[in-house]
Structures are given as structure tokens and as C-alpha cells.
Amino acid sequence: MKENYLKISFPSLPENVSLARVIVAAFAAQLDFTLNELEEIRVATSEAVSNCVIHAYREKSGEIQMELQIEDGALSIKVIDEGCGIQDLDLAKTPAYSTDPERMGLGLVFMESFMDKMTIESQPNQGTRVLMIKKPERSKDNNGDQP
């Protein structure tokens, strides 16, 4: 079973959201994802990294870390910031809830529905860690072995 990882860190600039998508998609291509699954991974990544840029480091700029890993035939994506943190996680996950009136409040909803698993840990004024995991549908039949 192939194992691999990629750790990255970059400043919380809006332009880096698309860079993060490119990197995650290139890393994910090691597994047997369909184009549709890769698209879902790109959206989930975009939401998680955008949240760091907009919410975690609202005014100031900070550093965003990502840890990508392939393990047991699954892709895991960690997105870590040291920003403002989330006060009420359940509230944050509510569809259409946003602390920013200009936004749709769908980021966490998309992350949950497009990935197999999504968990968030957050400490106010300390930061937020998002973990997302996804396994290619095509590899689920045969117990996670790659073709």
C-alpha cells in the first residue's frame, strides 16, 4: 500500500486559495478518484482554506498550514490556522449560518457533504484544525486496495 504525505504552509492571501486547490488536486491524483470526486475535493479544500483567510485571520494576515496524507488508500487533508477560533461549533455548522452577512454560510456544509468525514477542533483565540478524509468510491469495493 502506497503511503505519502505533503506538508505545506503559506500566508493567508486570497490568491493562495486557488494554489491550495491545485496542490491538493495534484496530490489526490495518486489515488483512483473520479473527476467528480476530485472536483468535490477541490471545493472542500477551497472552503476550508477560504475560511482561514476570511474568518480566522480577519484583519491581520497569518499562516495557514495544510497536511495532506495518503494512508490505507484514503486521502486526508488537515487545514490548520492560528486565528480567532470558532465560538460555537454547532452553530457554525448550521446551514446558512455565517458571522459575515455577505457570505452564504455553506462552507462547512460543503466540506461535510463532499468528503467522507469532516471534523473540526477549535479554541477561541487559539485557532482551528479541520480534518477531512475521502476514499475513492472505486476502491471501496475491494477493501481499499488500489487497482
Partner: protein
């Protein structure tokens, strides 16, 4: 992202090429709002997604914002050439409730 705006009387057609996300949606908003501001007669905004490679919730929010601008002037927003992966995002986000999808530009114009 590259935008191509074409006004024809009361109809403004906007071709969106590339990615509509956090970094590009401000330009999307500004270009369209400027055009709407200069042309009060515009009643129909048609968004053409033929060349759109990516949209996330920031982009969907920018589209919803334009719907609100059009609703304020009793106008409407339509979408054409919507690829399957965007169709699904439009559904999940509820945008389909306020934006009609047409298979072609011609059909949207009528």
C-alpha cells in the same frame, strides 16, 4: 477569471471564464455592479458558465449578490451552459430557486 460583458438593450450577458472564488469574486461583483449602475434599463442578467472551471461558496455568494441587485430593480438572473458539477452546487446552495437555467443563450433570451 476573465469576464466578458455584452449588453443588448435590457439584457446583460456575462461570460465567466476560469475560477470564481474568494480572490476573483470581488472583481465579478464590481464589474457587474458598475455596468448595472450605468445602465438602469437592464432587467435581465444572463450568466454564461460555458468556460467556468470552478466555483465554491464564495462564488455562489457573489452570484446570489447579483440576484439581489437584479431583484431590487424587479429584474431577473438566468444561467446558461451550466456544466454538471456546477449544476449540483447551484442545487445544494438553493440558487436554483431564484435563478432559472436554460440550455442555451438563445432560449434564455426569450
Amino acid at each position: 477569471m476573465d469576464l466578458n460583458l455584452e449588453r443588448n438593450g435590457r439584457v446583460l450577458t456575462v461570460q465567466i471564464a476560469g475560477e470564481l472564488d474568494l480572490s476573483t469574486s470581488p472583481a465579478f461583483r464590481e464589474r457587474i455592479e458598475a455596468e448595472l449602475g450605468q445602465n438602469q434599463e437592464i432587467q435581465h442578467l444572463i450568466l454564461d458558465f460555458k468556460e467556468t472551471s470552478f466555483i465554491d461558496s464564495s462564488g455562489l455568494g457573489a452570484i446570489l449578490g447579483r440576484y439581489k441587485s437584479m431583484a431590487q430593480r424587479n429584474g431577473k438572473v438566468s444561467a446558461v451552459n451550466v456544466p454538471p458539477h456546477l449544476q449540483r452546487l447551484f442545487e445544494l446552495s438553493g440558487l436554483l430557486k431564484v435563478m432559472a437555467i436554460y440550455p442555451s443563450l438563445e432560449e434564455a433570451q426569450n
